[in-house]
Symmetry: C2
């Protein structure tokens, strides 16, 4: 179909919205490694996980076989408040770059949480509610996940307790207020409200916190408060399952116009957006139906894929969580405080880690000043002010499009625009004032962190 026929924004109808999530694990030959009990080194089963997670979510977490999992009606109703999200043809960016490449982005920022996180938040809150729980605890870094969970909980009438990484809590005071609009309680982490928080504060006074640390606190709070469970916005298999709605909608929208992407690009922190975006395309690739270049983009200051180790590690700094096999910088790794671009997690989804390990996708690390340059260039021509996290994908999409300009190739690029940057203006201000710097961990720093990886039988 001629390019002229493709609208600026492709919207599916509500009826065309997926009725099932797609579980990419069903098509993986090498399944992601199971979670291990840190005390015994044994795989964790359904019963082991029940004190921490909601029952139905554990079933989804452990299910490596069911390809399609139905989306409950109540979740679909909620989705309809902000989905289907638009697949945008970046005509203005293409023109500005003078590239023959065709660029599409799936924009997940048109909701108050400002990102794709809401897709899994409503699912997790729904199953917690179904189980008759009183509330949930969680952590949040940049704040999107906490806001998303607050929104989902407000909608369903669940209590919501959020541990927010301290540096984000301080850099983004307004995020806290948004969560309050939705009735959540927000605590900066590390805090004195948990044993693990107090321990981390004692060991690292003045720390600006990390996602791994906030996770520890939220897990402790959930497991010590009756009627509560812990929920997590990324990394877990279940989250990638829920986020598959991004990829399924993207693929349906492209299919409608007969467009097949050559390159699919997503930012990667814990992997929720990237895993969701690529899932149906990766499924085709795994089944040998179609090939795609798939690129994970991560910050050079927190480079799990490109410089991490594929090993069992703790999901949290406090080492209270199960062990997951993943690309990791070590659960003690905390990115340099000058890092403003989100994607601060030390590890990576086990599913994506396995796929990367098996050579099914690439990864590239980018520096944050280059990321903000791309963000501003994008904002000025496409109108949308992107989140720093999303801007990692923009950076590489622009780089790939400029490569096409050199070679004259008319490649089709799809990237995930996970959200908006309205609450990231402190970071943009630093960038404008020339105060933003790049910091890359040294090899010695990483080696020191790797040396503290847990001992697991059979692991290198």
């Amino acid at each position: 179909m001629a390019a002229e026929k493709i609208p600026y924004k492709i919207y599916l109808s509500e009826e065309e919205m997926p009725r099932t999530w797609y579980n990419v694990r069903a098509d993986m030959k090498n399944k992601p490694a199971p979670l291990l009990n840190p005390a015994t080194g044994q795989p964790m089963g359904y019963e082991d996980l029940r004190p921490v997670f909601c029952d139905e979510l554990i079933r989804q977490e452990l299910d490596n076989d069911t390809r399609e999992i139905p989306i409950p009606d109540e979740i679909r109703h909620f989705y309809k408040m902000y989905r289907p999200s638009p697949l945008v043809r970046a005509y203005c960016l293409e023109k500005k770059l003078g590239t023959p490449a065709k660029i599409y982005y799936k924009f997940e920022g048109n909701n108050t949480s400002g990102s794709h996180k809401l897709n899994s938040a409503i699912a997790q809150a729904y199953y917690a509610k179904q189980q008759g729980l009183k509330g949930v605890t969680t952590e949040t870094g940049a704040g999107q996940w906490g806001t998303a969970l607050s929104m989902a909980c407000a909608y369903l009438g669940l209590d919501c307790q959020v541990y927010m990484v301290k540096c984000s809590y301080e850099q983004k005071p307004f995020r806290r207020e948004v969560m309050r609009v939705y009735g959540a309680s927000v605590t900066p982490s590390p805090s004195t409200t948990t044993q693990v928080g107090r321990r981390i504060l004692a060991e690292h006074p003045g720390t600006t916190g990390s996602l791994g640390c906030a996770i520890s606190e939220a897990v402790e709070k959930a497991t010590t408060t009756p009627g509560y469970r812990y929920v997590l916005g990324s990394v877990l298999n279940q989250v990638l399952l829920h986020q598959s709605v991004i990829g399924l909608e993207s693929k349906a929208a492209l299919d409608k116009y007969g467009v097949v992407p050559d390159i699919i690009i997503g930012c990667a922190g814990g992997g929720s957006n990237l895993g969701g975006l690529i899932s149906p395309f990766m499924g085709q690739k795994l089944r040998g139906e179609q090939d795609y270049r798939i690129i994970a983009v991560e910050p050079a200051s927190c480079p799990s894929f490109t410089r991490g180790k594929f090993a069992y590690d703790f999901c949290d700094t406090g080492m209270v969580c199960p062990l997951a096999k993943m690309y990791t910088l070590g659960s003690n790794f905390i990115p340099s405080p000058n890092h403003a671009g989100g994607l601060r997690y030390h590890g990576m989804s086990s599913v994506l880690s396995q796929l990367y390990h098996d050579g099914l996708m690439e990864a590239v690390a980018v520096e944050q000043t280059k990321v903000f340059e791309a963000a501003e260039e994008f904002a000025r021509v496409e109108g949308i002010l992107p989140a720093p996290e999303s801007s990692h994908a923009i950076r590489v999409a622009i780089d790939e499009a400029l490569r096409c300009k050199e070679t004259g190739e008319e490649k089709t690029i799809l990237f995930g625009l996970t959200g908006t940057g309205y609450f990231d203006m402190v970071a943009y201000e630093k960038f404008h004032n020339g105060e933003m710097t790049d910091t890359i961990p040294t090899d010695a720093e990483l080696e020191a962190s790797f040396a503290r990886l847990p001992q697991v039988p059979g692991q290198d």
Copy 2:
């Protein structure tokens, strides 16, 4: 058509987007009164306005006869980046309220400016560019208009100088950064960069500013800088013309499903959103084709319609602008500093003023604490965090829906959700902390302000 068939969000296709703006003045029997030259008391013609406004925009300003004005292709291209905007059926709000009323809202917040202002910003910037100008000046209150104009100017490569009402500048530091992303320069008003600013600062030291004052500064800057003109985000006839795209899309979306609203509600500051939303419906009403209840909602602390005088007045505090006939509180009126809800302008669009004067629409004033209560209730069920300005309309839509609940009437309510409140978290914080109060000007205050209205021949 059965209610079940109506989706949560009605999206028109890009092809269904209006190709012409609708000029409601063409259908008005009593035309809005002309702008007057304050020195001579004579109506201002094309040549009189040229030092201030762009040529084509003056033509639109003065044109009371042409019903349909074509939207240039380049503006339509820009519109396609964020339009058509969704018309949302508020199923969740209806359920929460337990009302038999059917509630729809036209949501204009899905763009980085966060409001409908972009619809006119791109039009005004386009005509400035066409005229070969170097840049434009403007004022902004809540910040949406300044952001919108910055975005439009960045897209077209025009310089953009924004005078921002000082209290907003201080309450919304991040708005300034968003404008900087789009390359605009932002000055808090009153400032020392203009004669009128220096005069106002001398007369009212410590003033938190007003839109009227910022307008004076922006006009002075434009008329004293070669290659610049002044543009305005509300009040003017041309702005209502551009904003008619809101109403045209709303009507097209409703028509598609055979829905006819009984009540149409919009917030009113200068009138840009309300005027745009109601225009095609008002056109039907003026032509005797259909009747609607049309309600303007304004803050009780700045009640131009409900307590103002219908008289010729200055559009700005500095009295450098033409005189407009409108409902006004007096160009010296400045709302109490505790007022957080936007809609701070002392006057009102001449078009809407005439329509109100002729009994074609109603007006109601609401207190800000009630407005924020409605905002939070709406956010929790509909997901969107609304701008304080938009929340005025939400308040009255909820009140009307609750009235339907009492009477059992199944009325159809349409309201304008002009934008999002992501940059209004200081106000939400005050509300949450119980620090928000209501202030209503006394009759004596208003009388004192009215006493300073300009003397115009033939005016009561």
